[in-house]
């Protein structure tokens, strides 16, 4: 079927927790979103076939659209459309494979083993175990461990370039003997990344080449004193996307239904982010927060970067967000006190029953607090990975092997950021759009003037894959139905020494000539109404210790865009701290939430 004949498109995104389906139709010669349906992703027993979740979500779509899309037995999609039944095109993305758990190995546990661990952690993986020649375990114990843990990927490192090869080959032999299987079973090969002594590459190929999906990259520890983690990190991210994340039980079955290859969700969302950046000529940071993973994208200096934080998310990974961020960091955003024991149970129960949704307001607040921390941690990881096209080698001595230091300068500069884009269930489906704006601001702490937007109903993944086959339809829906303009955040840098002291004066001149003037004080959030589609000129006079981008105390002039929330003055400082006294903290957080009318009854 030619593109011009296509009038009805079905697109799905299989997340780790929820499968989302959208129906797009050409009406009056324009492609528009018609309806959206969703259903729990079916990667667990008894179904264990991601296709069932897709069919359930499509079933909801056909109920809402009031027309038949599935065959009478409900097991396939009618294609092409005939007598008002079915669709012309079906495409899908997937991130149903969930998180990334790795085993790493190095010859010496405290040398290459440590470097390999750092590389894996920096790439967003959970390190399940470190195998080393000198870890005190016998070969069969190592083999049993590999088999039991079922890692998603193994990173094999060890030996300096030009040094002895025998130890790292022995480690490869152990991996080969374990004959590790991919987590999702038959039909998949386990990815093993070799980043050790370059002189041993051919022996490694001989040992592992036929048993696993072997990939080879530069030695992460080319000499005792130097560490080169970036190629390994980039490769891990790539292998994760290709081999783990998009796969799921029943994946081959789903492939039979789609008209195009199933695309990994971050790839599809990343394409959309790049499209926005290119079309609007903006620097962009975007985030897609899912159940198991959080993906962050950025375009700075024309360079696109993507990172997948494989174990930060709102359902399967929520317990990991809690463990990594810590109780205090989660609770600092919650405007009431909570029993720790009760909170821990709630978080773990969300992990084991991932599709539940917050009924109580207080539960919504806790989930949104977790989302802030998941986004913050993922953004930290993104910054460390977004260092341009080439990683910079870090000289490392034996003395500082335990120190974790950044390799290379990040490209992400918040002062240069024009637009922050949010996507994912917790952002797209927040009951109030103010909540989305607040989560984005608190997690990313934008500086200067930053426009805030959100994916209206969480459909960027589907539009990303659709753009590959039908760009016109994808762009049409994107422009008209996808991006919601929340408003603009104005945030000077500088530390607030005393709450309530003036931080800036502003003069806002709207398109209709209305002029608004005001002063904003430290430690506060203030909202000025500026509707969707409105732009205004703003002149800001920051006080002595505050900087809007032209230097401390220097006047700043710029343009701000309206949105459903409006213009948000965030003068809490960059960075800002919370009061140590809990009652004071609660009072302060409540005042912020009240300023944005975030929750009812505050």
């Amino acid at each position: 079927m030619s593109k011009t004949e296509i009038t009805s498109i079905l697109a799905t995104d299989c997340g780790s927790t929820t499968t989302k389906a959208i129906l797009i139709e050409k009406r009056d010669n324009v492609f528009r979103l018609v309806v959206r349906g969703e259903a729990p992703t079916t990667v667990e027993a008894p179904v264990e076939d991601v296709t069932q979740g897709v069919l359930n979500a499509v079933s909801e779509v056909q109920e809402l659209a009031g027309r038949q899309i599935l065959t009478d037995d409900g097991k396939a999609i009618i294609k092409p459309i005939k007598d008002g039944k079915g669709v012309d095109l079906y495409v899908s993305t997937s991130s149903a494979g969930g998180g990334l758990q790795m085993m790493v190995s190095g010859v010496v546990k405290t040398m290459s083993g440590e470097s390999a661990t750092r590389a894996a952690l920096g790439a967003g993986a959970i390190v399940m175990d470190v195998l080393a020649t000198n870890d005190g375990r016998l070969p069969h114990q190592k083999i049993q461990r590999i088999r039991h843990l079922r890692p998603d990927m193994i990173l094999l490192s060890g030996g300096v370039d030009g040094g002895t090869k025998s130890h790292v080959i022995a480690l490869a032999e152990i991996i080969a003997a374990a004959s590790p299987k991919a987590r999702l079973g038959a039909g998949y090969e386990l990815p093993v990344l070799y980043a050790g002594n370059k002189d041993a590459q051919s022996e490694i190929k001989d040992t592992l080449g036929n048993k696993v999906a072997l990939d080879i990259t530069e030695n992460l520890r080319p000499s005792m004193e130097s560490e080169n983690l970036m190629p390994t990190r980039q490769k891990i991210q790539h292998l994760f996307l290709e081999h783990v994340m998009s796969h799921a039980p029943g994946y081959p079955h789903l492939m039979e239904l789609t008209d195009e290859d199933i695309m990994p969700t971050p790839g599809a969302v990343g394409d959309i982010m790049q499209l926005i950046s290119r079309k609007k000529n903006l620097t962009v940071v975007g985030a897609d927060i899912g159940g198991a993973t959080t993906d962050v994208f950025s375009v700075f200096q024309g360079i696109y970067n993507k990172s997948v934080s494989a174990n930060y998310g709102m359902s399967y990974s929520i317990s990991n967000v809690f463990a990594e961020a810590g109780l205090d960091n989660i609770m600092r955003w919650v405007p009431f006190e909570m029993d720790e024991r009760d909170l821990r149970n709630r978080v773990k129960n969300k992990m084991i029953r991932p599709t539940t949704i917050p009924y109580l307001l207080e539960e919504l607040m806790v989930e949104q607090a977790c989302a802030r921390e998941a986004l913050r941690l993922s953004f930290d990881q993104h910054r460390s990975l977004a260092v341009g096209l080439k990683g910079i080698q870090q000289e490392r001595t034996i003395g500082d092997v335990f120190e974790q230091t950044m390799t290379g300068e990040t490209l992400v500069n918040l002062k240069d950021l024009n637009m922050l884009i949010g996507s994912g269930g917790v952002l797209s489906h927040a009951p109030r759009r103010q909540q989305t704006a607040m989560m984005l601001i608190d997690a990313f702490l934008p500086e200067g003037i930053t426009q805030l937007t959100v994916d209206s109903i969480f459909m960027m993944p589907q539009l990303g894959v659709l753009a590959k086959v039908h760009e016109e339809a994808a762009l049409s829906v994107f422009e008209r139905d996808c991006l919601i303009y929340l408003g603009t955040c104005v945030a000077p840098t500088g530390i607030v020494k005393k709450a309530g002291e003036p931080v800036l004066d502003y003069v806002l001149t709207k398109q209709n000539g209305d002029v608004l003037k005001g002063t904003v004080n430290g430690g506060e959030l203030n909202v000025v109404k500026l509707s969707v589609g409105e732009t205004a000129k703003i002149v800001i006079h920051p006080k002595r210790n505050y900087d809007m981008g032209n230097g401390a105390g220097k006047e700043f002039e710029g343009e701000v865009h309206g949105g459903v929330v409006g213009l948000i003055f965030d003068t809490r400082g960059r960075p800002f701290k919370f009061p140590t006294d809990n009652a004071e903290r609660v009072k302060l957080v409540k005042s912020w939430y009240k300023a944005l009318d975030l929750y009812p009854g505050l």
Partner: protein, 373 residues
């Protein structure tokens, strides 16, 4: 669409359970197809070469390497006990002797007159794979292991810690909502797998370890106690290798949650029977759940079909799986078609239910799970 989330846990009174039991390295299969085995039976084994120790005899005796043959008391291939004399000088009229003793129990693998060194090797390390469940050998994987089949009551838990253990099953809590307390656990429970109700307290779990209980099956466990017990905050739920001296299988979730009636009754019916449990859990795509296997003494294998989730209907029994009223059991009263705005202001599809205590509630459909009866 009246669907509801169910974690899909398999809870059946009689089913065919098949288990692959494989060696980590190639070895010898010790049973044959059709053999009846006990959980403790070794079904396959192999020997790993023992560790090697080097002893420099020449240095220790202050002689030249080529001279060591004159002082050796053992020869290549001899077995030695720890501290056995390997080599000894004659001394001066029987006095002032120097000797070299074996640092290990093992054998003399090599004696070198070039280096003056002895290579000693510890005895082979046996690696054995046990059957884990009472059953019958269904298939042989040559040099690797076996497949065992057994007809059993099979219960999947939702979360667990610790590996495979076997013992006789004993109901300690007398109802599915009773809390398993420290004082409930007696020395008589040593070597057994005990069943609690809605919660096992941290003190009770500690006491169970002290008296030698092998495993605990219980409805709920406190996440805070889990953190204290493990010594770290479990981020990603991948468990099974913890060596805490006990295996725990949690059937319902975190906190105090009454064990599902069906689960409790199945366990009660099997009291006194030999039971195998494994706490290993991996909550992610390709999930692994903890399990309870109670082999039944019946001939043949009658498969009981696991009923899938056919959706909620009026009258369906459900359990609330999120606050408020978490853990309570209810019946579906109505399934409104249109989405409803709930307290958190989210607009969702809901279900009207009535709890066993008569409370009428409207909750998100996603927040209840169907109880299979």
């Amino acid at each position: 669409m009246a669907s509801a989330y169910t974690p899909g846990l398999k809870i059946v009174s009689k089913t065919l359970v098949e288990k692959d039991r494989k060696l980590p390295l190639l070895g010898e299969v010790r049973v044959k197809k059709g053999d009846k085995v006990k959980a403790e039976s070794v079904v396959a084994s192999t020997n790993l070469p023992g560790n090697v120790f080097m002893v420099n005899i020449a240095n220790l005796l202050s002689v030249e390497p080529h001279e060591i043959n004159d002082f050796l008391k053992k020869k290549e291939g001899d077995f030695v006990e720890k501290d056995d004399i390997i080599a000894e000088t004659n001394g001066f009229f029987g006095f002032f002797k120097s000797c070299v003793r074996s640092p290990i129990k093992g054998s003399i693998e090599n004696l070198s007159t070039a280096t003056g060194q002895a290579v000693l090797r510890e005895p082979p390390i046996p690696v054995e794979v046990h059957a884990y469940v009472d059953g019958e050998i269904d298939d042989i994987y040559p040099k690797e292991g076996v497949k065992i089949k057994t007809t059993a009551t099979y219960i999947q838990g939702i979360f667990g810690i610790g590996g495979e253990v076997t013992g006789l099953l004993e109901m300690v809590s007398q109802s599915p909502d009773a809390v398993l307390e420290k004082d409930d656990i007696k020395p008589v429970h040593a070597g057994k797998i005990i069943v609690g109700g809605s919660l096992v307290t941290a003190e009770a779990l500690q006491r169970a370890i002290e008296v030698g209980v092998r495993g605990v099956i219980v409805g709920g466990y406190d996440a805070h106690d889990l953190k204290e017990f493990l010594g770290y905050d479990l981020g990603v739920a991948i468990t099974g290798t913890e060596e805490k001296g006990i295996t725990l299988v949690v059937t319902e979730g975190f906190g105090k949650i009454q064990m599902a009636h069906k689960t409790y009754e199945l366990l009660k019916a099997a009291e006194g029977m030999k039971t195998s449990i494994n706490g290993a859990t991996q909550i992610r795509a390709g999930v692994i759940r903890p399990e309870v296997i109670i082999p039944l003494k019946v001939e043949g294998h009658e498969e009981q079909v696991h009923k899938g989730n056919n959706g909620m209907l009026v009258g369906t029994s459900v359990r609330i799986i999120r606050q408020p009223h978490f853990g309570e059991v209810a019946k579906v009263v109505n399934l409104p078609e249109k989405p409803v705005i709930i307290e958190s202001e989210a607009k969702v599809r809901v279900v009207d239910i009535e709890t066993t205590s008569g409370l009428k509630l409207t909750l998100p459909r996603a927040n209840v799970e169907i109880i299979e009866e």
